[in-house]
Symmetry: C2
Subunit: 387 residues, 2 copies
């Protein structure tokens, strides 16, 4: 169940002293040449490590990922970029790689400079500790305010995909945010990983919402080293895509389940939309609606709020096509609104998840989304700690 | 300070019994022929009174507005439309108007049928009680969970603009939502009110956010009856537009100040954007960011969250243009981030309002926005009352 599950990957997690206690620096490497890709936050304000790592990935194939927790190295100006470069160089030096083969990620407080000396000494310590059993330590070292480490793994026919992630835990006022590293011993050629990763990320990390925020540091990195040695066929490619999708979906689900203050997982399904993209817009709007999310916290099958959210889903400069006369809504399988008319049913919501399904009755478009609820603890975690 | 401040307007507020206690039905009319217009929610799911009133306004000029609180008459199917028509007909019968001269508005619980008999008997009672002193009662009768009535007034050179509103108080799980009625004795010709109203509403009601929700019932109605008798000039038109803007802005500010659970008013200013529309997109994103709003509740000058929100403002299918290297941010006038670099300043936020100003350094576009904070009480109000 870890980022070292696939052949030829080693990892370590150490306490570099970036934060007071606990592991705060993780290193993952392939022991043989690998290829890779990453998908990044689309925020216009990018953290320094994102700027640096994007540049690295444009030049050479990656073979190692270094992640520090505690300081996001975002909004740190020119110094921040130099610090991220220096970190990559130190990893390269320790592992015998060129700096551009190193992906640098940071998560933590925005606007605070990286404590560079501690990071560099942490890099040296982690380099010496790299081990095939180090996945768990690495997964622990990237957490910030997550309640538990997030790891996942899937086996194909002779290959393995493993991964770790940290979630949207923003207890500290300026924390940023979601990171994931996925490794595989399946063989991919240079240039191939990005398409596989995009497809898997679109169906997983891009379909979750804790609070609708988009951080300066979000990243998902994939490394593939071919160490499984199995031959490739179109069928094995499909199995790899499925395994990668499974790992990303499992990590994404963990992130939402561990959403700040979350008590219930909302599984939102939209079908019958004019297009898949419009279905996604409607699902996202419901997933980010404060009124739907507070109702979920209160275990209230509040279809009125679901209707109001669905009817105001931003789409193409206006709102997505929704027609109440054609709309059907159910909670946990119980229909509450059928083509414009309330049914009078009142589903009882008691568990740790609730399924909200909408059939827009307009076409064949469909999408699903996972979301957390909006609770006292979310407000507490994000309001209580003042700078 | 009321909807009856202008010459030739009368109003009343009565207890029709739609809810258990308190006034719940308001009626406003012009005693002489008037012209008018309305701006409506853009939600795709429209309440029955919105559907009916839009139709009425397309046919004739309005002379009366009837509003019930307690039941939104939204998502009520064909019965809901018939009930709204019947309400307008009853007002017309009582006041000697054709039904199409009556604008019908409802606010309250979604998905519950209007208690028609009570509404109709309330209409008869309110019609008999119409008075030039009735503005205060009318303003009280449209409230749902607002903490106070919202009224405003501005005098021009020989004319008056007065108005009332109810805010986004959604204590009950399916409540919907913002309504305003503005009256004036300034003289406008048929077809003229809409342009004045759109301009005033865009700069006021469309620049506020409590929780980013857009209800099925939102409406702002303007009635103008010319009873002031003053002559019109281009200069007086400007004065009228200014007075109308002032009244709308005052009502909008009241609505945000009374936002659910709100403890602080966020006054967000964005300048230096590539265009006014992009400035508005950035301001709106900040105004609806749960992280910015919880930080405000904690009185935390959290510029990291402001940066992250600004960098992810939906615009034109992507994000609005923001470049950290050109961006300057201040809290209550204290610069915390200047063109890509943190200043190290930590403003102290203690009051009941906080000014967050961004200069994007890209162009001449500017916009402002008002928002409430996100608090325990917001969650409580919206989660606690289960159906």
């Amino acid at each position: 169940m870890s980022v070292t599950a696939a052949e030829g990957f080693v990892a370590a997690g150490v306490h570099a002293g970036i934060r007071r206690a606990g592991p705060d620096l993780a290193l993952v490497r392939s022991t043989v040449p690998s290829v890779g890709a990453a998908v990044w936050t689309t925020n216009r304000v990018l953290a320094a490590p994102v700027v640096v790592s994007k540049r690295h990935l444009e030049r050479v194939e990656p073979q190692a990922v270094v992640i520090n927790a505690g300081v996001a190295n975002a909004a740190t100006g020119a110094t921040g970029v130099a610090d991220a470069e220096r970190t990559a160089a130190e990893v390269g030096h320790a592992l015998g790689l060129v700096p551009e083969q190193v992906v640098v990620l940071s998560t933590g407080v925005i606007g605070v400079p990286l404590p560079l000396d501690r990071v560099l000494s942490g890099v040296r310590e982690a380099s010496a500790a790299l081990d095939t059993e180090g996945g768990g330590e690495a997964a622990a070292a990237i957490l910030t305010t997550d309640r538990w480490p997030k790891q996942a793994q899937a086996a194909g026919d002779g290959f393995v995909v493993g991964g770790m992630a940290k979630g949207a835990g923003m207890i500290h006022p300026r924390l940023a945010t979601m990171l994931a590293v996925v490794t595989t011993d399946y063989q991919l050629e240079p240039g191939e990983p990005i398409a596989f990763l995009r497809e898997a990320a679109d169906a997983s990390f891009n379909r979750i919402s804790v609070d609708g925020e988009c951080s300066t540091n979000d990243a998902v990195v994939l490394l593939a080293n071919g160490a499984s040695g199995i031959g490739r066929t179109p069928a094995s490619d499909e199995r790899f895509a499925a395994a990668l999708g499974e790992v990303c979906a499992a990590l994404a689900r963990e992130i939402v389940s561990d959403g700040e203050g979350s008590t219930v997982l909302l599984e939102i399904g939209v079908s019958g939309a004019a297009s898949d993209a419009e279905a996604e817009a409607v699902a996202r709007r419901i997933a980010t609606s404060p009124l739907v999310k507070t109702a979920a916290f209160g275990r209230d099958p509040n279809w009125g709020r679901v209707l109001a959210a669905a009817g105001s889903a931003p789409w193409n400069g206006g709102f997505a096509n929704v027609d109440a006369e054609r709309l059907t809504v159910s909670f946990d399988g119980v229909c509450v609104f059928v083509r414009g008319e309330p049914t009078g049913a009142t589903p009882s919501l008691g568990g740790t998840s609730v399924a909200i399904d909408l059939d827009l009755g307009l076409g064949a478009g469909r999408a699903s989304y996972l979301a957390s609820d909006l609770t006292y603890d979310y407000v507490k975690l994000n309001a209580e700690y003042t700078t």
